[in-house]
């Protein structure tokens, strides 16, 4: 990893703090402790068992089989192209009804009336819970709240409440319209870390959701999201900036002809909404 030392006064202050802090750490004792823990864990058989084939590719080693793989790859591409021409590309094969490709399903949108309700909801609940409310989520017909022991940091006016809707849809070959499989609406102020799992929330599905969002400006919101639905073997991860109010397909996977898509919509809940 490359070293890059910023040189501002703030950086100097922070590095000075870190160095003084490091001096108070007993590194030798910590090393002994960690090494001992590794030994104990290994003796219990809890560490990753050796794999039959190396998982790590040493890219510096010459790849003896590279030409063979190239040939196999070329054949595979040819087969895929041929299949496409025979089955789908000629336009003659009987096909399923064309789904509403390119258009997010209606239920992925956050409507104005819904945004108004969500904005009112968070503004009413926050004082009710003495500003200890971390987030509100609605899924599977249930409303879930996370309430902290103490007031949540920074409940200032500059902290914008946001609504995020995540919808998983299924498109099968014989269905023109997508059908919803799972959905959640989350309402929280910016930069709250939202972690929702079946275990913590007692949800029937095996779900794990992590979410963090911040409005970059009036139009765009930075979002980090991760959704895992074990039942569907679906893992969706998104980290980027998306436009307010527009559903965005963050993940897509196809199995046995059935396509699963994850749509994510984010909106600001400013006072006027």
């Amino acid at each position: 990893m490359n070293e890059h030392k910023p040189t501002g006064r703030l950086d100097a202050l922070l590095r000075g703090w870190a160095e003084r802090r490091q001096r108070t750490t007993d590194s030798d004792a910590l090393e002994q402790r960690v090494i001992a823990a590794i030994g104990e864990e290994a003796s219990r058989g809890n560490l990753e068992a050796p794999r039959p084939s190396p998982a790590v590719v040493d890219r510096r080693r010459p790849t003896r089989y590279a030409p063979v793989w190239c040939a196999v790859g070329a054949v595979a591409v040819a087969v895929v192209v041929a299949c496409w021409l025979l089955i789908g590309g000629n336009g003659k094969a009987p096909g399923p009804p064309v789904p509403d490709k390119g258009l997010p399903p209606r239920f992925a949108w956050l409507e104005e009336s819904q945004l108004g309700e969500k904005g009112r909801l968070i503004r009413e609940l926050e004082p009710m819970f003495d500003h200890r409310l971390q987030w509100i989520a609605e899924t599977d017909g249930r409303v879930l709240l996370e309430v902290r022991d103490q007031a949540v940091d920074d409940p200032s006016q500059s902290s914008v409440p946001l609504a995020v809707r995540i919808v998983v849809v299924r498109r099968s070959p014989h269905q023109a319209q997508a059908t919803p499989v799972w959905a959640v609406d989350v309402v929280a102020r910016q930069e709250r870390v939202i972690r929702l799992s079946s275990e913590s929330a007692g949800l029937p599905e095996d779900v794990e959701l992590r979410l963090w969002a911040y409005p970059v400006d009036k139009e765009m919101v930075a979002v980090d999201s991760s959704l895992s639905l074990s039942g569907l073997a679906l893992d969706s991860k998104f980290s980027g900036v998306q436009k307010c109010g527009e559903p965005f397909a963050v993940h897509s996977v196809e199995r046995s002809g059935v396509k699963y898509e994850v749509f994510q919509t984010v909106a600001r809940l400013d006072e006027e909404t």
Partner: protein, 197 residues
């Protein structure tokens, strides 16, 4: 603290194997000594990173231990797409976030002593002023969200470039730039008295 990975061992003989080679060796052989070597190489940096995110020295030691156990338990998921160090620091950050989440809040109180034994060695102003400064810096960092704190720690203290920090966080570079910008803005506001010339 150096940002490059420091290797240990007798350098007069063959060069030390890379982290990636060691990880592959362990996956082939299952030799625990290989994991110990990896831990020794990365312990200083991982422990300082964790400590700067968690901001609680006692908890930081527990979390540091958890980082290595968690990483070695899932070493099979390391595919060599990024460097081992990047992968390990990602595990470190995620473990620190999990700890902060378990604890239920990201705000921590300053627990340092105003009369710590080492504070007088480098401070011309004396130990009390330096301890006060350290307390203010720690409080300011504690007020940042964990993601913003990690952004400033990775770049300003650990000395990584924004692109490398983004790789570790698993976010895109624009998001990392934004986090760094926000964190610096908030810290400047909070530490204004100490930043004026």
């Amino acid at each position: 603290m150096p940002a490059t990975v420091q290797t240990t061992g007798d350098t007069s003989r063959a060069p030390s194997p890379s982290d990636e080679q060691l990880a592959a060796d362990y996956q082939r052989s299952g030799e625990t000594s290989v994991l110990e070597e990896l831990a020794r190489r990365h312990l200083p940096r991982v422990s300082s990173l964790v400590s700067q995110i968690v901001l609680d020295p006692a908890a930081a030691e527990d979390v540091t231990q958890e980082v290595f156990l968690r990483a070695f338990r899932q070493l099979g998921s390391f595919r060599g797409k990024s460097s081992f160090a990047t992968w390990l620091y990602r595990v470190a950050l995620n473990t620190a976030y999990s700890y902060l989440n378990r604890r239920g809040k990201s705000l921590v109180e300053y627990r340092g002593s105003l009369h710590g034994p080492d504070t007088s060695r480098t401070s011309p102003e004396g130990p009390v002023l330096e301890a006060e400064l350290d307390g203010e810096i720690q409080a300011a960092l504690a007020e940042l969200s964990p993601k913003l704190r990690a952004a400033i720690v990775l770049t300003s203290i650990q000395g990584l470039k924004a692109a490398e920090a983004a790789k570790i966080e698993g976010c895109n570079i624009a998001t990392m730039y934004w986090r760094i910008h926000q964190a610096r803005k908030l810290l400047h506001r909070r530490l204004e008295d100490y930043l004026s010339p």
